[in-house]
């Protein structure tokens, strides 16, 4: 019971903090707009499977995934702030287990990230994505699956870093490659075959693909049967939760 209360408390803290950061709200509106409207309109790649999918519609699920990914990674790494400003110490001496601390932080950050993702949905209507309420509702649990794993990647990285100075490195070597090689911006057929294995090894590829199948409906043919893609993400999540909680308990 007290462990659950601890998880809830840390989740609540994360959400409270997030709700106070106005600047992030603004950037969460502007960034996807830039991608969807400027980038999406500027580059109009032909999309293979169906003629009625525009490039903007094609990248829309990719931009949602990008928002989830970037928020999760950044906020996950923000546990370094907690360490630098001492608040982590206060949590670590509290009578709750490290696993609960980890889970509380993870669920809190995931909630923030999912809110960031949901904010983007209305823009879909602007660019002509055929959105229906059912598609939106089914998207949310998929977004959760995508987020959990990435948050754990962020928390794992954070538990090995001393300061936020190396954040730029993570952006360059982890975040952007994962984003570019996830099929968010171009279909797998556009990727040269020597690079294609990275595409398939990236769990976000399947996240983007599931969201795309849900949002674009029958017009889109997924890479693999959907249940297999969901299974891959589930395995990724479970692996990352195990690695993350292990690193977090060990390091702090």
């Amino acid at each position: 019971m007290s462990e659950l209360q601890g998880i809830y408390t840390l989740w609540m803290r994360e959400v409270l903090r997030y709700s106070r950061e106005r600047s992030r709200f603004i950037s969460s509106f502007i960034q996807p707009l830039l991608w969807l409207i400027i980038f999406g309109a500027g580059i109009s790649l032909p999309i293979q499977s169906a003629a009625n999918i525009t490039y903007q519609m094609f990248i829309f699920p990719g931009i949602i995934t990008q928002a989830l990914q970037f928020t999760s990674m950044f906020m996950g790494i923000s546990v370094i702030w907690d360490r630098q400003f001492g608040f982590l110490k206060e949590i670590l001496v509290a009578p709750i287990s490290r696993i609960s601390i980890f889970l509380g932080k993870m669920l809190g950050v995931s909630t923030d990230a999912i809110v960031q993702g949901i904010i983007i949905f209305p823009f879909g209507i602007l660019i002509g994505v055929p959105l229906n309420p059912a598609a939106f509702i089914i998207s949310v649990p998929v977004m959760m699956l995508i987020t959990f794993g990435v948050v754990c990647v962020g928390l794992t990285i954070a538990s090995y870093l001393e300061s936020l100075e190396s954040f730029g490195l993570i952006q360059t070597f982890v975040n952007l490659p994962l984003f570019f090689l996830s099929g968010a911006l171009f279909p797998v057929t556009h990727i040269p075959s020597w690079l294609r294995w990275v595409f398939y090894a990236n769990p976000l590829t399947y996240g983007v693909d599931i969201l795309r199948s849900i949002i674009l409906g029958n017009a889109w043919t997924p890479l693999l049967p959907l249940y297999q893609e969901i299974l891959i993400i589930l395995i990724f999540d479970i692996t990352m939760i195990l690695i993350g909680s292990f690193s977090f308990s060990r390091r702090n």
């Binding site: 400003f85 001496v93 009578p95």
Partner: protein, 329 residues
């Protein structure tokens, strides 16, 4: 059980560095127990072990009847901690910080509000409770941390350098609250400090720690008594020579040089002082200043460790001043 804390043969090594070296002490219920020593003496390490943050290399420590290694969760519920470094979330309000703490420590929901209001009142933050902590001064943050550490009614309160980095006025403030805590619900307080006057004024007993060892442990009063009598502080043109002369003369119980002064501990200053001046005159040593002091905890520290507590810091300061002067020229 009369002791709320029992420490036996506690040692903590960080690789080859021995931070705490085989120390033992007990703390009684309701006591204010001071750990006094320079930076890096092992005070924070000792507190961290008692708070279950660090595991000891060898030895045992019991807090409120629980072993810190075997039952850390029980120990954590029994203690409150104010860390040396700030540990509040500055993006939340004071009250939210307290609420989080109450939840983490499993304070039942129906008494949380009452308990939070009580501790806020105690540190006089009730009017600012709903402001974001980042708009607090450092003294207010410290007070919030003290309030927070009391929410779950701990048996033992650890204060690790509670006033370090605060201006004199805020330091006084903090001490007012700590004094209020004396006798508060049978609370025992362990505090570490490198301010001697704080330990002297507020602690029932003081352990002097140097290089990971406890070099002395008693009430401030008895520690000073142990030195005996009075202290003559004298500055001459040739301190080293005069120091040796006094030592050889057998007039003093103890002599040390610190900060360009000789501190001479004697049984009775009224009869010894004339002899000392005669001694200087006999050897043609010019006395620049001379004064009489009641022994202070400074002297006790000097006596047990052979160095002034803030000696190195002052030397650094002199060095900096010198460097600045050179630059100005």
């Amino acid at each position: 059980m009369s002791h709320v804390i029992e420490v036996k043969g506690l040692t903590k090594k960080f690789n080859s560095l021995v931070a705490v070296n085989n120390i033992s002490f007990d703390v009684d219920h309701g006591e204010i127990f001071g750990l006094l020593g320079p930076n890096g003496a092992g005070k924070s390490t000792t507190i961290s072990i008692l708070c279950t943050i660090l595991k000891p290399t060898t030895g045992t420590a019991m807090v409120d009847g629980y072993d810190v290694c075997k039952h850390p969760a029980h120990v954590r519920k029994s203690i409150g901690i104010v860390f040396q470094d700030p540990s509040v979330d500055d993006r939340l309000t004071g009250r939210e910080n307290l609420k989080i703490h109450a939840n983490l420590y499993g304070v039942p929901g129906n008494i949380q509000k009452e308990q939070i209001d009580k501790v806020l009142k105690l540190v006089e933050l009730d009017e600012r409770a709903d402001d974001l902590v980042r708009h607090y001064s450092s003294g207010m943050r410290r007070r919030l941390e003290i309030a927070r550490s009391l929410i779950h009614n701990p048996k033992v309160l650890f204060l690790d350098e509670p006033t370090v980095g605060l201006d004199p006025q805020s330091r006084d403030h903090i001490w007012t609250y700590i004094k209020k805590l004396m006798g508060y619900q049978d609370l025992t307080i362990i505090l570490s400090t490198h301010y001697l006057e704080e330990a002297d004024r507020f602690c029932n007993r003081v352990a002097i720690i140097d290089h990971g060892d406890i070099v002395a442990l008693d009430t401030p009063h008895r520690l000073k008594d142990e030195l005996g009598g009075d202290t003559i502080v004298i500055r001459t043109q040739d301190n080293d020579r005069f120091h040796d002369l006094v030592k050889a003369s057998g007039l003093a119980k103890c002599t040390v040089i610190a900060n360009h002064e000789i501190k001479i501990t004697v049984n009775n200053a009224h009869t010894t002082l004339p002899r000392i001046t005669e001694l200087a005159a006999d050897h043609n040593i010019h006395i620049e200043t001379i004064s009489l002091q009641q022994p202070q905890l400074d002297d006790v520290f000097l006596h047990f460790t052979g160095k002034e507590l803030r000696e190195s810091g002052q030397r650094e300061f002199y060095g900096m001043a010198g460097a600045m002067r050179r630059q100005i020229r």
